[in-house]
Structures are given as C-alpha cells and as structure tokens.
C-alpha cells in the first residue's frame, strides 16, 4: 500500500491489499457509462414497441450492423473458452493470471450478443422456438443451442469469482461453493471449449452454406463449409488478443499493474500462432474462391466488389494489413517484447476479424445475385448503433464493478507491492 493511500468509503468490499480510487470518482464513471446505456435502452424500446422498421435494415439487408456486432463480439469473446482450454486442459499455468478477466470478457461478449439478438429478431417472444421446432439442417439452430448453453457455462465460470468477493466469501456456504466450483472448473472449461468451438464454427457455416450468395458460399468438408473452420481459427486468433488488450487498457485507466508483461506477451504469442494458422488457411480459401468457385458461378473477381464502400481495399485490409502484418508482429519475440508493437498488432488482429465478419454479413447481401439486379448499400442508423454502445457500456460497468470488488487479477498485489511513496496511484480515480 502506498503511504498516502486513503481507503475509499467502500473499502470493506474491496479485495485485500488492493488500492482503489475514491467511491465518488467510481460513481461518476459508472454514471457516465449509464447515460450511454440508457440511450441504448431507449433505442431498444423503440424497436420493441414499434418494430424493426425503426432501423435502417431493409429487405436486401436483413442482416446488418447488429449481426456484424454479434459475430464480432462472439469472436472476440473467444478468449474465454480458448484461455480456459489452455489453462485447465493443457495446463499452461501462467494463464491463471488472466483467466478471470477472460471469463468476464467472454461473459460480457456473449450476454451482450444475446441482448442485441433479442432486438434483432422480429419476434423475440418466439426465440425458444429454436429449441422446440429445431431444424437440424440449419447452422443457425446449432448456433442457438450452443450459444445459450455456453452462456450458462460462462455464468458457472463467473460465479466462483463473485463468491470470492471479500464479504461474500466469509459465508461458509459460499466459500465452499466457490472452492468446489474451482475444483470442477476443468470440466466446465472442457464443455465451454466444445460448445464454443461448434458455435463459432456454425456462425461461419451460416454463411458458407448460402449457395445462392456467391460472396459467402464455400465448398467444404462433409457438412461443414470452409468458413466453419475459418471462423473457429479467427476467433481463437483474436480472442486472446482482445483479452490482453483489455488488460492493458484497464492498467492505463487504473494506473495499476494488473497482469505481468510476460503473461501479456504469452497471450500475444498464442494469438500470433493461431493467427498464423488462420491466415494461411484464409489465403488458401480466398485463392480457391477466386480461381474456383467464382468462375463456376459465372462471376469474375471484379464483380465481387463495388466502388469504395465494398471495394477491394476491404479484402486487402482484412488479409494483408490485419492478417499477415499482425501475424508477423505477434510471431516475432522481439516485437512482442515492445508493448506498443504488441498492442498495435493485437488491435490489427481484432480489426481484421471484425472486417471479416462485416464483409461476410453485409457485402454478401449487397452484391447482386441476379445479373439484372443492382448493388445495394447499407448505412446503419442511430437506433442500430445505440444498442451496440449499450453493450459496450454494459461491459464497461460489469468490468469496472468486477475490477473494484472482485479478486480478478491474482498478480495485482504482487505487481504493485513496490509502488513508490507519493506516486500517483490511480490515473482515472478508479
């Protein structure tokens, strides 16, 4: 503890030996996030009360920003299952220092995607039909099953962390539950890895099976189009990168060291390795698409692109700028050792995956399928943006509360033990 540290009013709730900013600053921060959240709630009210006509979606763009956002956060939330798999099943021990954060981010991403999906489907009260009238031939059915099941797994993984809160953990029953859940956590990590692998894949499969949409359609293996495997690989290549980036962002905002640099570098190495595998297959897939599938559909390479909005630069940005480049950076030990390069590569990595989800969702639908059809363009309106920011604000609130009151970072006390007296302990007052 720094000598000039004044415990905040809620010190009794804060993890042992961890410094936190004044409660007033924290409340202000939560208030700011709540404003964003409330704007999103208002947009959600408009959609639920009046209909999806409040959005900029139309009969050409049945999928738009929300589906792109969902696919993006689900891919970026893959850090939870993949880190869990590496930590609990493959016993990569240093990842214990970041697994709690990965679980919280995964929980935020998946529950956030669910919130947006409730708005996105026209009849949210019928969402359970996915179970009751399941079409076993539909990739979306598999997605519905696996995402909801995996959400439950994430809740189970999050619970022991909540029960380890200083005051809650004093209750013997909660202490025992938390302890025992930790003991069986490898089981849930395994279940999470299984479920997550399949729904990440099925999300990709959703596009690959669209044989009427030549931008997305892919050949494949057995019942799975190549996009099935590419989505899994891209998710595990970007999920750990986002987890590492959020750890770094939290350190910047709180002014405290939360995860040691070697763990961050390890996360970068994992992301880089998976990105290498993904990029190789993505390039092969793109080549087969351009040289094989496109001509067999009677289409030339140029016909897949249109103007600036759906231009070839997106393909270049996705594969070269946000694929090959970050792959090279993350696979190089010397570059990983430089925090700025490490974070820049991670940002590029995550951006590439989001571009991939965007083009497969929007460009697929924008492209004319019949020769006499026209390219269509889509620009989302504020009613679509606001719920996305709602999810980001919700994530910010949940992460802030977790950081302040739960023992999220096992290394925090050790890493901040040598803090110089008089140093500024908390840059954002959090």
């Amino acid at each position: 503890m720094a000598p000039n540290y004044i415990p905040p009013a809620d010190a009794a709730l804060i993890p042992q030996d961890c410094e936190r900013g004044p409660l007033s600053c924290f409340a202000l921060w939560l208030g700011a996030l709540s404003v964003i959240l409330l704007i999103g709630v208002y947009a959600a009210y408009l959609v639920l009360s009046r209909g999806l006509g409040m959005t900029a979606l139309d009969d050409y763009f049945g999928f738009g920003l929300w589906i792109t956002f969902d696919l993006g956060v689900i891919a970026l939330g893959a850090g939870a299952f993949f880190t869990g798999l590496l930590r609990y099943i493959l016993n990569i021990d240093p990842l214990k220092n970041v697994i709690n954060l990965a679980v919280i981010i995964g929980f935020i991403c998946y529950t956030g995607a669910m919130i947006v999906l409730v708005l996105d489907i026209g009849q949210p009260l019928r969402a359970w039909f996915g179970y009751w009238h399941a079409n076993v031939h539909s990739m979306l059915t598999e997605v519905i099953f696996c995402i909801t099941c995996y959400c439950i797994v994430l809740i189970i993984e999050y619970i022991p962390l909540i029960l380890e809160q200083k005051q809650i953990n004093r209750v013997p029953l909660f202490h025992a539950i938390a302890h025992n859940l930790h003991v069986v956590m490898p089981l849930f990590a395994g279940m999470g890895a299984f479920l997550s692998t399949f729904h990440q894949g099925s999300l990709g499969g959703m596009y690959g099976v669209l044989f009427g949409r030549p931008y997305a359609f892919r050949d494949g293996f057995f019942i799975w189009p190549w996009t099935f495997f590419l989505f899994i690989l891209s998710a595990v290549a970007s999920g750990p990168a986002l987890t590492m980036l959020i750890a770094a962002l939290m350190e910047k905002m709180t002014g405290r060291k939360l995860v040691s640099q070697d763990v961050k570098m390890l996360m970068g190495k994992i992301a880089g390795t998976m990105l290498l595998v993904y990029t190789v297959f993505k390039i092969l897939d793109t080549g087969a698409w351009i040289c094989g599938l496109a001509p067999s559909a009677g289409l030339t390479f140029d016909q897949f692109f249109y103007g600036w909005i759906y231009g070839k630069w997106l393909l270049f940005a996705e594969i070269a700028l946000c694929g090959v480049l970050p792959c090279f950076m993350l696979c190089s030990a010397s570059m990983r050792a430089n925090p700025r390069l490490l974070y820049a590569a991670a940002v590029l990595d995550c951006t590439g995956v989001v571009i991939n989800r965007y083009v497969l969702t929007v460009q697929t639908l924008a492209m004319p399928s019949m020769p006499f059809d026209q390219w269509a363009t889509y620009v989302p309106n504020w009613v679509e943006w606001a719920p996305c920011f709602l999810v980001l604000a919700y994530g910010g609130i949940l992460l802030s509360l977790s950081y302040r009151y739960l023992p999220v970072f096992p290394q925090e006390v050790e890493l901040n033990g040598g803090q110089r007296p008089g140093s500024k302990p908390n840059t954002w007052g959090l």
């Binding site: 209909g51 979606l57 026209g122 996915g130 399941a134 979306l140 059915t141 599938l293 559909a297 020769p371």
Partner: protein, 275 residues
C-alpha cells in the same frame, strides 16, 4: 427441411417475357389477393412488401439497338431451396403435394436468415405492423391470414386458391389425386380450377400457371423441349418451378451469371454439392 422431395404434382409457371409489357397488374393483383398492406411512405422500395416484383431488363445498347424486357419475379418455389434449409425453426418448408414452399407465419421468429439465403429476393419482412386505410380492411381476402410485424412472408402461388379448388373437387364427390393417361398421379383440380391471381389478371396472358408434370397442362407443353425457356440462376441447382420464355438471346443470357466469353448454350456447371 432440406431434402429435394419429388411430388407427382409440381405447380409452376411459364412467363413469356416477350409478351410482358411491364404493366404491373400482376403486382397489384397479388397485393390485393394476398392482403399486402399499403405503406404510408413507400419511397424506399427495399422496404415495400411485394410478393411479386417486375424487374426491368435492358440490353444496355444505345438507340436504335436499345431494347428492354420486363421480368415478373414471384417466389421461384425451388425444389432445392436455399431458404428452407437454413430456417432454424422449420417455419418454411416444401412438404406438400404440389411442391409449393410454405411460410408459417405463427412459427417464424423473424431472424431473416431465409432472406439472406434467397438469391431471388423473393422474401420480404414485416418491418412494422400492417395498417389498413379506413374501409380497406373490408376488402381483405378472408382466406389469407394477415401478418404481424416481425415475420417474413413470400409468394405462396396463392395457396388458398389451391385449397379452395381441392375443396370444390371434394364437395363434388371426387378424389383430389387421380391417375392420369400417363399412369401417374395427377391433381383432379381442372387446369383452370386453380390459377394464381397474377396469372389470372395478366392482360397479355404472359403468365401461364399449372402442373409442370402434367402433359395435358399448357404450362408443361410450353416449357418442355422449348429452347427459349430458361429458369433464373439455373447453375445454382435450385430446380425452380418458374420458367421464363424469350426468343431474344440477350434476355435469356440475363437469366444467369455468365463469364464474358461463356457460351449460354452449353450445359451449365452446377455449383458443388451443398453441405
């Protein structure tokens, strides 16, 4: 569901594009027959619910070689549907004798995956609840359910008329399906007993409707062995039930995507087998 089911009766259309003047009567008849609500603001055409849309085709040549054609596009009632296979809740399927792809409004969850899958843009979504101008609700077709907001809808080949025609046969004491002169089962509904509203209203007789499998039906004769008949996006292998006829090569060429040097007369390569 996914299987390409064979039916004895396959309702289909032959649309002669050289006869179509693009008057749009088929669109209006379809809207009136199938209870499609008018929109207060219909300026965004990608939001206007239409089960049948008339496209304008151009040969993209300048005067005096410039030519246009009009192409009415109902649901193509694919035997190998891109849409029904992807629906997560079996709200659309091709599972009834006649081969019409159904749309079950009370089951549709409004995910719009089928719309993303359909290359013909045959499906539309109810972005708002339908609002009927005062008095118009009295003119609704009683046999066609109106749809709430949040569900997908599409052309059903006026399926309610098929039901009415079958009822008429049964009421007359007959069997709906009888063996024909070719020793195959055919629908006992007479050729003019079940006609879609678009075919019925077309002033030029450009749209002919009937059983594609029945040699006695005009639609069968129009498309069988006709070198001028084609279907939209045939290389996708969707095996649609709507045929188009044109004596103009450039019109037929617009029926599918072709590479610049590709010969339209050659048998098309069907895309790889789906997953």
């Amino acid at each position: 569901m996914s299987a390409n089911k064979h039916f004895n009766v396959k309702w289909g259309m032959a649309i002669d594009l050289d006869k179509c003047t693009g008057c749009g009567a088929c669109m209006v008849a379809c809207q009136a027959e199938n209870n499609l609500a008018p929109l207060a603001d219909a300026s965004n055409k990608q939001r206007v619910p239409n089960w049948l849309v008339v496209y304008e085709l151009s040969n993209k040549k300048s005067f005096p070689d410039h030519e246009i054609a009009y192409l009415p596009r109902p649901c193509q009632q694919c035997a190998e549907q891109p849409c029904a296979t992807v629906c997560p809740v079996v709200a659309t399927e091709r599972n009834e004798e006649g081969g019409i792809v159904s749309q079950i409004y009370p089951r549709c969850i409004g995910c719009r995956y089928c719309m993303a899958a359909c290359p013909y843009h045959a499906r539309c979504f109810n972005w708002f609840d339908p609002v009927w101008p005062k008095g118009m609700e009295k003119a609704l077709t009683p046999d066609v359910s109106t749809r709430p907001r949040g569900v997908v809808e599409k052309c059903t080949f006026c399926h309610h008329r098929f039901m009415q025609a079958k009822d008429k046969v049964r009421a007359g004491g007959g069997e709906v399906y009888v063996r024909g002169t070719d020793n195959k089962l055919h629908c006992a509904v007479p050729e003019d007993g079940y006609v879609t509203s678009c075919a019925e209203v077309c002033p030029n007789g450009a749209i002919v409707f009937g059983d594609l499998n029945n040699p006695e039906h005009r639609v069968h004769r129009l498309v069988t062995g006709n070198a001028n008949a084609f279907r939209l996006l045939e290389r996708l292998g969707t095996d649609t039930a709507v045929y188009y006829i044109s004596r103009r090569e450039w019109v037929r060429r617009l029926g599918d995507n072709y590479l610049p040097d590709e010969d339209t007369q050659k048998p098309k390569q069907i895309l790889p087998k789906r997953h």
